[in-house]
Assembly symmetry: C2
Homo-oligomer: 481 residues x 2
Amino acid sequence: MDDRLYPLPGAAPVPPEVLARLKAAVGPRGVAEDPAEIAPHLVAWRDGWRGEVPLVLRPESTAEVAAIVRICAEARVPIVPQSGNTGLTGGGQPHMGGSEIVLSLARMNRIREVDPLNDSMTVEAGVILQTVQEEAARHDRLFPLSLAAEGTCRIGGNLSTNAGGVQVLRYGNARALVLGLEVVTAQGEIWDGLRSLRKDNAGYDMKQVFLGAEGTLGIITAATLKLFPRPRDSAVALVAVPSAEAGIELLALMKAAMGETVTAFELMHEICFTLAAQTMGHEDPMPGSEWRVLLQVDGPGPQGKMAEALEAALGEALERGIATDAVLPASLDQAQKLWRIREDQAEVQQRAGAGIKHDISVPVSRIPEFVAKADAALAAVYPGFRPCTFGHAGDGNLHYNPIRPEDWTDAAWKAETQAINRIVHDLVAEMNGSITAEHGVGRLRMHEMARLKDPVEMSLMRRLKAAMDPAGILNPGKLLA
Amino acid sequence: MDDRLYPLPGAAPVPPEVLARLKAAVGPRGVAEDPAEIAPHLVAWRDGWRGEVPLVLRPESTAEVAAIVRICAEARVPIVPQSGNTGLTGGGQPHMGGSEIVLSLARMNRIREVDPLNDSMTVEAGVILQTVQEEAARHDRLFPLSLAAEGTCRIGGNLSTNAGGVQVLRYGNARALVLGLEVVTAQGEIWDGLRSLRKDNAGYDMKQVFLGAEGTLGIITAATLKLFPRPRDSAVALVAVPSAEAGIELLALMKAAMGETVTAFELMHEICFTLAAQTMGHEDPMPGSEWRVLLQVDGPGPQGKMAEALEAALGEALERGIATDAVLPASLDQAQKLWRIREDQAEVQQRAGAGIKHDISVPVSRIPEFVAKADAALAAVYPGFRPCTFGHAGDGNLHYNPIRPEDWTDAAWKAETQAINRIVHDLVAEMNGSITAEHGVGRLRMHEMARLKDPVEMSLMRRLKAAMDPAGILNPGKLLA
C-alpha cells in the first residue's frame, strides 16, 4: 500500500447541505467542482501525495475566506489551505476520502500597497513570489526571499511554511521578512494585524504564532513584508577548501572581512561536481578537491568594489591555508555557470540514481562532524553509497542526499528510505539539530518529529493548537498527528 | 491615591505553609526575607511602581525554578519573575498586598557555552547584558543588543520584553537575536529549547511565544543568542536636514548607498540641542536648523573606509538638497561628544521641566506626518509646550516627549498626563502605529492597549494566555488585565 494515500481517521464525506452553503458563500467564480479543474489541487508535484475533495473553494476576498471558515467551523468540516501547491512534505494536499475541502488562496492576488520609504509592501496571500520580487524591484527595492519554486509558489504558502532558500544567511527565513499579517482564525474571525512597524511591543506578537504553522492555526490572507535596498554590485567565487572544517573557517573569515554582504555560502562535495559533469555536461572548474564552497557577496556599489574586497579576503584565506584554490568568474555568464552547477543538483542527482533526501540542520560549527559521522554510519551499512552532500552551510542547513551505490537498483535503494532516515535523523537529534530545516513537517516528517522531539515541546505545541483551533478544522493530520 | 500602588483583585496573603515549602525548595541561600534585602526587588527605579511580598526567591538552577513554579501552581500563588529590575512599565514589580512572590533570576548567571564558529552563545537568564557583550567581544564577536541600562539589566528581562535600543535598525530587536530558549512553563515543566540553529522548521516555533511575553506565559531561564562579526571601522555624522520629510529621504539614501552598515539613524528636533546646551552645557554644533540626524555607520574595515563612503553619500544628499549641512567629527572624542547629546536627552529633559513620555512607533515613512499632527494637536490645547522630539527614526520609533510650557509648573503639566497620552495614542492608533514600541506593556500601558487594540487581537492574546498559563499564576495583572 502507498503510505501517502489514506483518509483522515474517522472521516466522513462533506454533507451536501454544507457544500451548498459553501458554494453560496463564494458564488460561482469561487468554486471548482469539475474533476479536471480540481485535479491539480489534489496532488503534489513531487513524491506522490494525493487526496480527494468534493470541491475546491477559490475565494477572492478575506471576507469570503472568513465566511467559508465560519461554515466549516459550524459543520466541523476540515479545511486544507493551499496557495501555490509547491510544498515538499504533503502539507498542502487533502487526504483521501473526500472529507475535506481545499481552500485555494490563488485568486487573492492583489498587491495592496507599496511604501518604499518604509521599505514595506502589503500583498495578499495568493501573490506569486516572483511577482513580489518584481514589484519590489519596480520600486528599486529588494524582496530577498528566493527559492527554486519562486515562479509558481505563492507568498501565503511561503509564510505558512517559513520558507528558506538561498539568501537566508543574510536576510533570514520568511519569518524574518514579515512586519504584519492578516489572518482568518479557526473561528472565522478576521484579524487585521497588517501593521508595518519595525518595533511594536504592545502585547504578544501574535503574527509569530501563524508564521510557519503550515495552515494549522489560522489562514494567512495577507501580509506586510519587509523590503531592502537593492544591491548593485555582486561577486561570486568558487573556492577549493582542504576540508569541511576549513570550509567553516572560511565562512567565519568571510563574515569578519565582509560583514552582511555575504549573501550565499554553499558547501559542496566533489561528487556533486563529478555527477554534474557526467549527467548534464557541466564542466568541473577545479577537479581534484574534495570540498568546495560557492559563495556570493553583494553590496550597494559602485560596481567592482565587491570583487576587489572578495579577492582580498580570499587572498587571506589562501595565505592561512583554509583555501587552496579559488575561481573568480570574469563575467556574469561565467558566474551563472557556476551557480547552475549548484541549482541543477536536484536534476543531477535524479539522473545519477535514486537519492534519499534529507533537509537537516545542525549548528554551523558542527557541520564537518555531522558529515563525517553520517557518512561513516551509512558506509558501515551501505558500502559504496555516494554522499552527494551540499547545502546552505552558512545556515547549518545541508541537503544530505545519499545516492545509491552504482550497482544497486533505484527500487532497492528507495526501499531503504526509512532505515536511512532513521540513521540520519537519530544523528541529527543527538547533535540537537533539526530534521526539517526549511521544508517543514506536513505529513512527511510528522511522525518522525513526534518520535524525536522533547515531550514538553510536543505538549506546548498541542496546547497552542488546542487554543487556536480547538475543533481541529484547520489542516488536520498535518504537522501534529 | 497613587494609582500605581494597588493589590491584585481578590488577592490573599501567601499561606505560611506554602512559604515553608518554597523555602525548602531553594535552601537558605535561595531565599531573601529580610526587609532591607527584599526592598530593592519591590520598587521600580523610576515612576513609582511599588509592591509587597513575603519573600524573594533566588533560585540558582533551572530545576529550582521549576520546583518553585510547581509549588506555586499547586497553591495558586502568583509569581513575579524579575531579572535586572530596570523596566519602565511596572511589569517587573509585585502588586501591593503580599499575595505574590518575586522570583529573581539574578543568581542564574552562568555563561554556559560560547561557539564562535556558530556565532552563538548560551547564557542563563540572570547574566547582565554588558557581560554578554563583553564575553562576545572576548571571542572577537559582537552581541549587538545595546541600551542605556546595559550595565544593570539582565538578559532574561531583555528577552522577556523584546528589548530594543540603538542598533535595532541593523540587527533587529531582542527577538531577532535569539536562536533558542530554555523555559519553565506555568506547569513547572522544563522545556529545553536551547537549539543553536539558523533554520528549523520542525513544528511551531515555540520560543516566539515566550519572547516579549513579559513573563506572563513562561519563565525564560536560559537562551542561545546570535553573535555577529565585530565591526572594526566606524563613522559618525550629524546632518542638518531641511525638514523631517527630508530626514526620512536621507535614511533611504543612506540605506541604498551603504546597505546594512547603517547602524543608527536618530532624528532629533533642534529643541533637544538647545535644551542640552542650556541644561548641561553641550555645545550645539549646528545652531539654526530645526531638524538634525545623528547617524552611525560601521563596517568590517580597514579603518577609514566607512568615513570615506559616508562622505560620498552625504555629498550626494547635499547635492540633492535633502541635507543642508553635515558635521563629520575628526576624532573618536568628537564623535562621542555628539552621541552624548543624544544619550543625555533623558537627563536634559528632566532638567528642562516635566515631560510626558511616549514610546511610540509609526511606519518610518509617516514620521513627518505624525510629528506634524501630534505637535498641532497638542499646541491647540497647550500653546507654548516644547516638542522635544527625538528617537530611532530608522525604526519608526520616536520618544515623543512634550515638555511643559516654560511658565507652567511641573505638577500642573504632570496632571495632564492622561489627557496628553490620549491625544498622542489616539493619533498613533489612527496611523496604525504602536503605543509601546520598545518598552512593553506591563501595567503602565495595559488599559490603554486594551482600549486601542483590535478586539480580535485581544481575544487571540487571551486565548494564548489561557493555553499557556490557565491558572493565571505567571505575572498576573501585567500586559493583560
